[in-house]
Amino acid sequence: MSVMTSNKHSATPTPPSRKRNSLSKGKLPRWAVPATAAGAIIIGAALSTLTGFSVATFAIYSAVLFVIAATVITSVVEGKRQGRNAMWTYLIYGSFLLALIPLASVLYTVLEKGLPGMSSHFLFTSMNGVTGAVDNQTVADGAPVLGGAYHALMGTLLITLWATVISVPVGMLTAIYLVEYGKNGPLSKAITFFVDVMTGIPSIVAGLFAAAFFGLILGPNARMGIVAAVALSVLMIPTVVRSTEEMLKIVPNELREAAYALGVRRWRTILKVVIPTAISGIASGVTLAIARVIGETAPILVTAGIASQINTNVFANWMSTLPTFIYYQILTPTSPTNIDPSVQRAWAAALLLILMVMALNLGARLIASLFAPKKGR
């Protein structure tokens, strides 16, 4: 290293008036890293071609070569510590890219296969009356696919809404008890334990619980939207409790004491000071809990069944949701001989589901920023 730096200085002699900064070290020119990357890509392509070209080997060879080369060059010019820093930096970037691959791939596939099926017809009609014969005729004529997911969309919205209506009050009140009243006594310890256990319940078990529970009360054929909502709320409640609990815990105790010292009662302090301070976190926690259950399939199948017609009454008759719609379209295509229309509908429904979850996540951010404690002077 010392050789290199002294070489550099003999090449461009420093003015005699300014002595060399004894604190400075060698520094890679700005083009060095992009140049290394370009070299790694070229050699990676060459190596990959030697062993039969594929995108995967090309990417892996280039990445490995780049990390090694960049590390070596940086250590030689800038020193050992900088070299190690460079290695970890590029490794971390690499893992980030690796983690992005499945997401990008899913988004791409769903968009590619789902977009052709997206139409106002798909969004606003149900599968009522769409039979195998209809699909066969569609394929024979090359006409646009008939039938849509309106009933499943309504089912998803209604069942999730009811699940939220059940879980949010129960979950929030539990969290308030745990943080504000429980004082870590035996009851609050037991609640915390059982909430943890609930977090681990497989979704199909939650579905079977709701089906069996309503079966006992209403008879063996009690399948309707509200049963599915109960099953989903079993899955949602622990998430809501946990996120609300964490948010309430980080509200500074000083704010509670300030309210008490003004002669404010405890429940009013909780309602008007503690919850408003934590509401942005609670709201985003609730939204994420909704996003988690909106894609559940198994509990819906055993509690709300499958429907092909529109049903907006959660208290009677079977209902479909988007996940069960997708499942049913793929597993039992409407026309066993011409499955393409069913596959197209399933992908379009998948796209719709992803869009809904994304909208929920964006909504959570919006809510969080709307409710966040005000800034400004």
Partner: protein, 259 residues
């Protein structure tokens, strides 16, 4: 307004731990009383017993009596909420409510209790309280902005305004200036001098010059050692405590030979 406080043989506990032992003290109305003493000697703990804030901490309890103009704060059937609305408190760190504007912070004591107040009454209460806390001129043009946007000293005066808006009889201050710079401290000390004409003020401070500047009477608390309860060593006129203390421990503390 401005009631007297008489404490008789008060013991303060955290669960089984006796934190402050056998305090008896008489605090005159319309006066400023300072509590001084080394860290951990129980002066803040004792201050919090004067408006039943001590029991907010799990395990916190007291024995003995605290009389506010003759009424025992710890008597049977006394609602701590009533006590706290008559004895206000200002904390060490300024703690305005982050979700509320400056105006709502001042009105917090009224609004959080769900009392209805007309807009004109609210406006005049806000102005009166903020003037009382020497903050009106600084914030009158931005009453709807959040209270957390103010400087530390302004936030502390906002907290004082919030406290006097509920018209208490007594104001307790727990090291109100320890997080503030000297200029903000001066503003608060001036304010304490003005508050004295309407309220009974009790202030805990680590700063002996501050005690000497603002208080009429001073109480010196001390602790025999770690794990021992804090005790009231000497209580007298401030001038006497600082120039001619009766106890050796007080003299050591105020002259800087101790702690």
């Amino acid at each position: 307004m401005a009631k007297r406080i008489d404490v008789n043989a008060l013991n303060v506990y955290y669960s089984k731990f006796l934190a402050v032992e056998d305090i008896s003290i008489n605090i005159e109305p319309k006066s400023v009383t300072a509590f001084i003493g080394p860290s951990g000697c129980g002066k803040s703990t004792f201050l919090r017993t004067l408006n039943r804030m001590h029991e907010v901490i799990p395990g916190g309890r007291v024995e003995g009596e605290v009389l506010l103009d003759g009424d025992d704060l710890y008597g049977p059937g006394v609602d701590p909420v009533t006590v706290r609305s008559q004895i206000g408190m200002v904390f060490q760190r300024p703690n305005p409510f982050p979700t509320m504007s400056i105006k709502d912070n001042v009105l917090a004591g009224v609004k959080l209790n769900g009392k209805k107040i007309s807009r004109s009454d609210a406006d005049s209460l806000v102005e009166k309280s903020l003037r009382g806390a020497n903050l009106w001129n600084e914030v009158k043009d931005r009453l709807d902005k959040p209270g957390s946007g103010l400087s530390g000293g302004q936030q502390q005066r906002l907290c004082i305004a919030r406290t006097i808006a509920v018209k208490p009889d007594v104001i307790l201050m727990d090291e109100p200036c320890s997080a503030l710079d000297p200029i903000s401290t001066l503003a608060i000390e001036d304010l304490i001098n003005e508050l004295k004409s309407d309220y009974t003020v009790v202030i805990v401070t680590h700063n002996m010059q501050q005690a000497a500047r603002v208080s009429d009477k001073t109480a010196f608390f001390n602790i025999a050692g770690t794990g021992k309860p804090g005790k009231l060593i000497e209580y007298n006129d401030t001038a006497a405590i600082f120039s001619n203390p009766e106890q050796k421990a007080t003299e050591d503390y105020v002259s800087g030979r101790f702690g």
